[in-house]
Amino acid sequence: MNAVTQSSTATAGALDTRPVLLEVRKLGKRFGGVQAVTDVSLQLRGGIVTTLIGPNGAGKTTLFNLITGHLAPSSGDVLYQGQSISGKEPWDIARRGVGRTFQDLRLFSRMTVEENILSATEKSAWLWQPGGRAEARRRREKVAEIMAATHLTPLANARALDLAYAERKFLSIARLIASDATIWLLDEPASGLDPRSYDRFVALLRSQVANGVTVCIIEHNLDVVVNVSDRVAFLDQGKLLAEGTPREVLDDPRLASIYFGETA
């Protein structure tokens, strides 16, 4: 039950030559008496889409929080491009290129769509952004492009809290694109999307991956797991139980019984 199943098929072999962008090494997190994450080791390679699956409460979001610095690990390490980032401030980690979305989105609700995306491009904490008028114009142009790519252009001046559900989801992705993150940690991005929005989301994701973005998704949606992912990792009760191609992980009967709650 505790062994990690490593895949060894030919297709996986090709993917294994890509450089490791983010590595999680024996990561552990303890809250008082509860061990939320135990000894998790995972590698995210450049340009690969990895999906994390597992029952609710398995520690997937906690793992994301540990990677992004919103939580400090109790043990283990997180390495980004070979350098240890565990214990660093979340904004520091984000600036290095590790971006994320939240399960509850956490949009800047009282700002407009355009302002939300613009805010993601304004990295400096100072009273004004560097680069003067030229840079400011470039930023606005970039925001316009992103709004077009995420189908949000007609809603540019709508407040985030007035948006429909699917539109809010796209806004959270738009913010991520605007932040120029090279690794995306997406927490249930497809949940609750209608079929048309889902297709648009997958298309958007695929185009970003083609541009070099590395993605790690927490999802329950089987279509994402089977048709969008290159790798799948299965977590349960804070432990990584299996990691491999989607077919390998989904065909494992032990994991199915854990996930769907049937008796083994």
């Binding site: 610095g69 919103h70 939580l71 400090a72 979340p90």
Partner: protein, 290 residues
């Protein structure tokens, strides 16, 4: 000899600070409310005793009971009539802080109106120093302060770790749903926290009124001590707040060996600031996360 005297005074002061800070920490730990009217509770306790004992000349135990009842009622009513309605409308640090702040202002000024702005003292022969050694004066109040503080904290510890209500109080801040699942009402528990926390300041206020005196601005000083001790002791740790209160009392008293008394608040601020700089989680606090 001066240092020994200051040390003993510091222990007396520290015991009273420990009680006061403990009350604040208990309330904050259980309800997560930044009870900025804690200083007001202190003032009500002290002035109520003064009114009954010094002005109306009734026996001290009567004054004690009335003071305790009034202070506990104040704490509980504040929760029911001010904090709970505020939380229902908009539950945020700002609104609760502003509400507590407003109450503190009302109390401070009402007390100033009825009792005057100058210092009043609860007169008792117990505040007179008894020479134990040449140059060393200890008043019985010091002993009483320490004994009361010790009794209060042992009692509190037993209550929090053994009784159902006590254990529920400890769980309240983190999981009110769990508390409901055990058949207890978070609202009643919250009121219990306020009652207990406010009760703790009663002896501190009375003893303080007997030794240092009371005036309407004593509330802000009490707030500073409570806040500083809670931070220095570690947010979430009752033991820490009590211990830090003792430390602050000792520091304030011992500083008199080198600085004049106007700088006593400066000492508290310096200790607080040093902890914020070098050990923000305090003595026993949990690590802070984003």
């Amino acid at each position: 000899m001066l240092l020994l005297q200051l040390l003993i005074n510091g222990i007396q002061l520290g015991a009273l600070y420990a009680l006061t800070a403990g009350g604040f920490s208990l309330i904050f730990g259980a309800t997560r409310i930044f009870h900025f009217a804690h200083g007001a509770a202190f003032m009500i306790a002290g002035y109520a005793f003064y009114e009954i004992y010094d002005k109306l000349h009734l026996p001290w135990y009567l004054a004690l009971i009335v003071s305790a009842l009034v202070t506990v009622a104040f704490g509980v009513l504040l929760d029911r009539l001010v904090y709970t309605p505020i939380k229902r409308h908009e539950n945020s640090f700002f609104t609760l802080f502003a509400g507590a702040f407003g109450v503190g202002i009302i109390v401070q000024n009402m007390i100033g109106f009825f009792f005057g702005r100058g210092f009043v003292a609860i007169s008792t022969p117990l505040s007179k120093g008894v020479p134990l050694l040449p140059g060393l004066y200890v008043s019985p109040l010091a002993g009483i302060a320490v004994v009361v503080a010790l009794l209060a904290f042992f009692g509190l510890h037993a209550f929090l770790s053994r009784s159902h209500t006590g254990m529920a109080l400890r769980a309240l801040a983190d999981s009110p749903e769990l508390v409901r699942a055990y058949g207890m009402s978070p609202q009643k528990l919250s009121q219990t926290a306020f009652a207990l926390g406010s009760l703790l300041v009663v002896p501190a206020a009375i003893l303080s009124g007997a030794s240092a005196g009371l005036n309407p601005s004593v509330g802000s000083h009490v707030m500073l001590i409570s806040l500083a001790a809670t931070i220095v002791g570690g947010v979430g740790s009752l033991r820490g707040a009590a211990f830090a209160g003792l430390l602050l009392g000792l520091a304030e008293s011992l500083a008199l060996a080198w600085f004049s008394s106007q700088w006593s608040e400066a000492v508290v601020f310096v200790v607080l600031f040093l902890f914020i700089l070098f050990r923000p989680s305090g003595f026993f606090g949990r690590a802070l996360v984003h």
